[in-house]
């Protein structure tokens, strides 16, 4: 480079900024200020994401234990009948096990299907109806199952 090449940087136009003449302050993009509208959705999606993982771990134990008892041990499915159910629900331990499994599995599955509907149903009306059907069926099934566990009567006949 020869010495007479003019600098690529031109002279500063106007006055340079200094302590007495500060540059205008530019706020960081997306910074929350007093004028930013408050978030209206809260952290529901994050809570749902976390719930899927926490309930998933618990369900691995509850469901695989349930499968082992019902389909593998002691004759597998052949031994299942009213008497077998009565024997198990005589114990509060298995009542709590089944109740917890019912609630966690239904909520885990309902949230999974909600995600699937959100992904594939594009028309707002379709989404509304599918989710309405999903939530109705979920509430009905959870309540029915809970009622059955709590009101089970081994001497029904």
């Amino acid at each position: 480079m020869s010495a007479d090449t003019t600098s690529a940087i031109g002279p500063v136009e106007g006055t340079a900024y200094d302590v007495d003449n500060p540059a205008p302050y530019i706020e960081a993009p997306r910074k929350r200020t007093g004028r930013t509208p408050r978030a209206t959705r809260g952290n529901f999606e994050m809570a749902a994401w976390l719930f899927m993982r926490l309930s998933g771990v618990v369900l691995v134990v509850l469901v695989l234990g349930h499968l082992l008892i019902q389909l593998f041990l002691d004759g597998g499915v052949s031994k299942i009948g009213f008497a077998f159910v009565a024997g198990r629900w005589a114990s509060p331990f298995w009542q709590v096990w089944d109740l917890l499994m019912l609630w966690l599995a239904m909520l885990h599955g309902a949230n999974g299907l909600r995600t699937v509907i959100n992904d594939y149903a594009e028309r707002p009306n379709t989404r509304l109806w599918l989710k309405g059907l999903l939530y109705t069926a979920t509430v009905f099934t959870i309540l029915l199952g809970t009622l059955v566990i709590f009101t089970f009567d081994p001497n029904i006949r």
Binding site: R53, G56, V60, G76, S78, F82, G109, A137, T141, L147
Partner: protein
């Protein structure tokens, strides 16, 4: 593959697809299962009658399929948790998927006799 798609193929996408499909199937089974169990509030006979159909060879095959779906969903779910929470999870996601598939194959082979044995005895005699 269409341009601009989110679907990248390979282990990551296919395990995601399988997780979805098995999850939806298990959820639909769960509805039916709560309904059939609710029959214990109707009468012991009504419950035993429905459960008797669950002991037929064809339904035994469906039960084997249910075990297959639940085992994959459970094992791959643990893999998803590892990918999300373990710092090295994303790096080892492929190896973890093949570990899941390996454990799944072993468990499915081990489930053959316990789940389908009674159906085999019924079909081919003891």
């Amino acid at each position: 593959m269409p341009a601009g798609t989110l679907y990248r193929g390979r282990e990551g996408m296919w395990s995601w697809v399988a997780h979805r499909v098995t999850g939806v199937l298990i959820f639909f089974f769960l509805f039916v299962h709560v309904l059939d169990t609710a029959l214990v509030r109707v009468s012991p006979e009504a419950y035993d009658e429905v459960v008797a159909t669950y002991k037929t060879p064809i339904v035994a095959l469906l039960e084997y399929g249910l075990v297959a779906a639940i085992l994959f969903h459970a094992l791959n779910g643990l893999r998803v948790i590892a990918v999300d929470f373990w710092s090295k999870g994303p790096r080892y996601q492929k190896q973890m998927l093949w570990t899941v598939v390996g454990i799944w194959v072993v468990l499915m082979a081990g489930s053959l006799y316990p789940v389908l044995g009674h159906a085999a005895r019924e079909l081919f005699g003891s």
